[in-house]
């Protein structure tokens, strides 16, 4: 049940009505949302609903154990045991085939490996996200960030709440579970903001992302050998915009939907292509994942509380694992390694005192912005290409002279829109919100319907899956 479908619209309206009717009876409200979330997940494949239920139940039970114990050693044992089991489920479903494949390849270095017939398990949708939610619950309880007592229904709903279930944003238990403790206020719903986010997200996904995929990126990456350098470069820019609009569009819709239910989700994107350095980029791109990796991996590894090499090691480990989180493939590992090396290089560069004045100039910030954008684009090639061979083909095309043949006006406009839109001041959104607040509700409803109609007209045929669903 993808967001931009009639099925989801019906599901959403029914669930929204039910949730608000039950809002004053908190327990019923939460049980209703939990049931709706399992229906939402089950629409893809009921087979994995028990897995989702099992992991969240397990995390809830372990969290309760950690909360009950006063002994730090016992608490730590429960934490480690819980995290290991949650990660084991993720590793089993996501990396079994990849690990076996690479073990056999490593074996081949020393001799002929055995002829094994093996299959990796089918990947449950959203497992990378709901396992990280489960771990966040354990981590926040262990660190004492979650003050309230964990109840099992709350733990189940925190992991399974449908707007974030498939592709995030990754909620922190300490941010979301306190919201479950009190009834939602039916007099203070962020309606305008929620609907603006939904419309913005649909526009990004249906029009920008889908159109670029169909008309530019997919044909170019299917057969880069037939393209000239300028064409290939345009396709890579196109992919940079496509993946931003696809994923940030999804999270805009998820955040907007949650707001209409009365829940606040954290921001997941903050205009990432205006970043001027890699650290800045990761404060703006997939914020819920990068902050998760920072808090639950980078800092426990020691963070920057050591020498340069120690920090560089931790950065690289964090980004390598962050890359691997996206998929069981060496292309994702290399993508992570590239970003790790960008972060390390930037730290070394930033430590040079002689260029401090240069770095503060506007001109340099623009140079840095352009350089960083291209470095990010280079890494996206590894992210997009199905194999390292194809990565080589794409890079090889940059050196081939030839005419620009892929540059349709529509594609160029969408790329410019996707990048320039990130320079729109946030106050514009606030002004629009205030303006909408003056309109009568039925007029806003009509405007919403008209907006949906226009988006439908301008989008390509059908609904493409969100890129991050595969992770």
């Amino acid at each position: 049940m993808l967001f931009p479908t009639v099925e989801f619209a019906i599901f959403f309206l029914v669930t929204l009505a039910g949730a608000w009717v039950l809002a004053s009876r908190l327990s019923w409200h939460k049980h209703f949302l939990l049931l709706a979330s399992y229906v939402f997940y089950g629409c893809w494949n009921w087979t994995y609903v028990p897995l989702l239920f099992g992991i969240s139940l397990f995390a809830g039970l372990v969290a309760q154990r950690i909360q009950r114990s006063q002994d730090p050693r016992v608490r730590k044992r429960w934490l480690i045991g819980g995290v290991v089991i949650c990660l084991s489920a993720l590793v089993y479903y996501k990396y079994t085939g990849f690990l076996l494949q690479n073990m056999l390849d490593a074996w081949a270095w020393f001799g002929r490996p055995p002829q094994l017939a093996f299959e990796g398990p089918l990947l449950p949708l959203g497992i990378s996200f709901f396992v990280f939610h489960a771990i966040s619950l354990l981590g926040d309880v262990y660190r004492g960030k979650l003050k309230q007592a964990v109840t099992l229904p709350d733990a189940l709903l925190y992991v399974a709440f449908f707007p974030q279930l498939i592709a995030g944003p990754i909620l922190r238990a300490s941010d979301f579970m306190p919201q479950l403790a009190v009834p939602r206020d039916p007099q203070a719903v962020h309606v305008n903001r929620g609907l603006l986010l939904i419309i913005t997200g649909l526009f990004k996904k249906v029009i920008i992302s889908n159109q670029l995929a169909v008309n530019l990126v997919d044909p170019a990456f299917a057969a880069p050998q037939s393209l000239s350098g300028p064409d290939m470069l345009l396709a890579v820019y196109g992919y940079a915009v496509q993946i931003y609009c696809d994923f940030s569009g999804y999270t805009d819709i998820a955040i907007g939907v949650a707001l209409l239910f009365g829940y606040r989700f954290p921001a997941n994107f903050d205009r990432p292509y205006i970043a001027t350095d890699p650290q800045d980029f990761w404060r703006r791109w997939h914020i819920s994942l990068s902050s998760w990796l920072r808090d639950y991996l980078y800092i426990p590894l020691g963070g920057s509380r050591g020498g340069s090499w120690f920090t560089a090691r931790n950065l690289m480990i964090t980004m390598l694992l962050g890359g691997l989180w996206h998929g069981a493939s060496w292309t994702f590992v290399i993508w992570g390694a590239l970003h790790g090396s960008y972060l390390i290089a930037h730290r070394l560069w930033a430590a040079i005192p002689a260029i401090e004045r240069l770095r503060d100039t506007t001109a340099w910030r623009w140079v840095a912005r352009v350089l960083l954008f291209h470095a990010v684009c280079a890494a996206w090639i590894f992210f997009r290409a199905p194999s390292l061979d194809l990565v080589g083909d794409v890079f090889a095309r940059f050196a081939v002279a030839g005419p620009v043949t892929l540059a349709s006006a529509g594609s160029v406009v969408l790329i410019v829109l996707g990048i320039a839109g990130q320079y729109a001041p946030p106050r514009w959104h606030e002004a629009l919100d205030r303006e909408l607040a003056r309109w009568a509700a039925p007029v806003r409803g009509a405007a919403l319907a008209a907006s949906l109609f226009v988006i439908e007209l301008l989008g390509p045929s059908g609904v493409a899956p969100f890129i991050y669903f595969q992770f």
Binding site: P113, L125, A213, A409
Partner: protein, 397 residues
């Protein structure tokens, strides 16, 4: 936009009025799209309820003229996109052509084609003016018992087409659903790009098939996908979405029933008649074994029907992809080891589609068939002689 900043609040009553107004205006604007959506739903209870309701709604609102206005708007947008300022993708790839598919109906409202494992297929198609059959379960008209072949051919090599005369080109149409779109088309397009004498027409669309013309009508869309190109050879990989019941003449035909097989066979005949105009040589790629047993059995039946229907035509070679993709017993396998001992993953994570490495096993023989040998891929160490499990078909009740 995701950054939180101060925002106004409303009461839930206001939200209710807002959404009610949105639904009313949305239905007025989109009644045609909703009717199309309902018509394309999978055969089942939801469609049984939604299809007549949405059709009646659309018929009721038809006199307002919004539907016609909407259709004209869509047609205008299509014209602007493909013949106006923006060049069509056909012009974008030097050695490939891809024609636009004209749309005149719902776009966003169409559900994505999803595999049963939760992995999404690529973009689904947008069909032209849908028919609106009022489905009733098929209960009468006995259909003759169907006997299908049990053994399918297993030759791995293909007899090459005649050499391309010097200075001329050969245009090959890549036709099919996601079994062509995912992995295979990319491998073939890469191979074709290495040969100046070959040109490709991208005539594939994920989420399509022959069983649901109301979702995507290949008979109408294929000529538009060719955009005037005249293929000298055709490679087809289709059928992965056809393991489902459909409505014909107002009756629901259950998948695998004799009536279903007869109707599907007829659609195949019409499809290959259209492809075969001018006697164009065709390779029809059989579906590979699938991971989930129930789905695999359905695809095996599709293979047997397709082979029985198209395999004996002079211009068509039914080619068993299992020969290169399956294990020695003809069963699904996810990984294989090539001659160098390296493990390669043959299938996508959904257990249905081909991975890039898997598709790279099929591409060289197909390119060789086009008389343009590709750089040799490393074949797996095992090959297979496949035969489908015999299935006795019974007449539908």
């Amino acid at each position: 936009m995701s950054t939180m900043h101060p925002s106004s609040t409303d009461s839930i009553r206001n939200l209710g009025w807002l959404l009610a107004s949105c639904v009313v205006v949305g239905v007025l604007l989109e009644s045609g799209g909703l009717a199309t959506w309902a018509n394309r739903l999978e055969i089942g209870p939801l469609r049984q309820v939604a299809q007549p309701a949405m059709t009646r709604l659309d018929d009721t609102l038809h006199p307002l003229g919004i539907g016609q206005w909407r259709t004209r708007l869509l047609a205008g947008l299509e014209r602007w996109q493909h013949t106006g300022t923006a060049p069509a993708p056909a012009a974008s790839l030097p050695s490939t052509t891809q024609a636009p598919v004209l749309a005149d109906s719902a776009t966003v409202w169409q559900t994505i084609g999803m595999s049963r494992t939760g992995q999404a297929l690529a973009i689904t198609a947008n069909p032209p003016s849908p028919t609106r059959p009022q489905a009733t379960p098929a209960t009468s008209t006995p259909v003759a018992k169907v006997i299908l072949p049990t053994n399918l051919p297993s030759a791995a090599t293909l007899e090459a087409l005649p050499p391309i005369p010097s200075g001329q080109t050969r245009t090959v149409a890549l036709v099919g659903d996601s079994m062509m779109a995912v992995g295979l088309s990319e491998n073939l397009l890469r191979g074709i790009a290495r040969h100046k004498e070959l040109q490709a027409v991208r005539a594939f669309r994920s989420g399509t098939g022959l069983s649901r013309p109301e979702v995507f009508d290949w008979m109408q869309q294929y000529p538009q996908m060719l955009a005037g190109a005249r293929p000298d050879a055709i490679i087809v990989a289709i059928g992965a979405n056809d393991g489902q019941g459909f409505v014909q003449d107002g009756k629901v035909l259950d998948f695998g029933s004799d009536a279903w097989i007869a109707a599907y066979r007829q659609r195949l005949e019409q499809f290959v008649d259209m492809l075969s105009q001018n006697g164009t040589p065709i390779i029809w790629i059989g579906l590979p074994p699938m991971r989930l047993a129930k789905y695999d059995a359905r695809m095996a039946l599709i293979n047997r029907i397709a082979y029985d229907t198209v395999g004996h035509r002079k211009n068509i070679t039914w080619w068993n992809s299992a020969t290169l993709i399956a294990d020695p017993q003809g069963q699904y396998r996810e990984y294989a080891q090539n001659a160098k001992g390296a493990s390669i993953r043959l299938r996508a994570g959904d257990g249905i589609h081909l991975s890039d490495d898997g598709a790279s096993l099929l591409a060289p023989p197909l390119l060789a068939w086009l008389d343009s040998p590709a750089p040799a891929a490393t074949p797996p160490t095992t090959s297979v002689v496949a035969s489908a499990t015999p299935v006795t078909m019974t007449a539908s009740p």
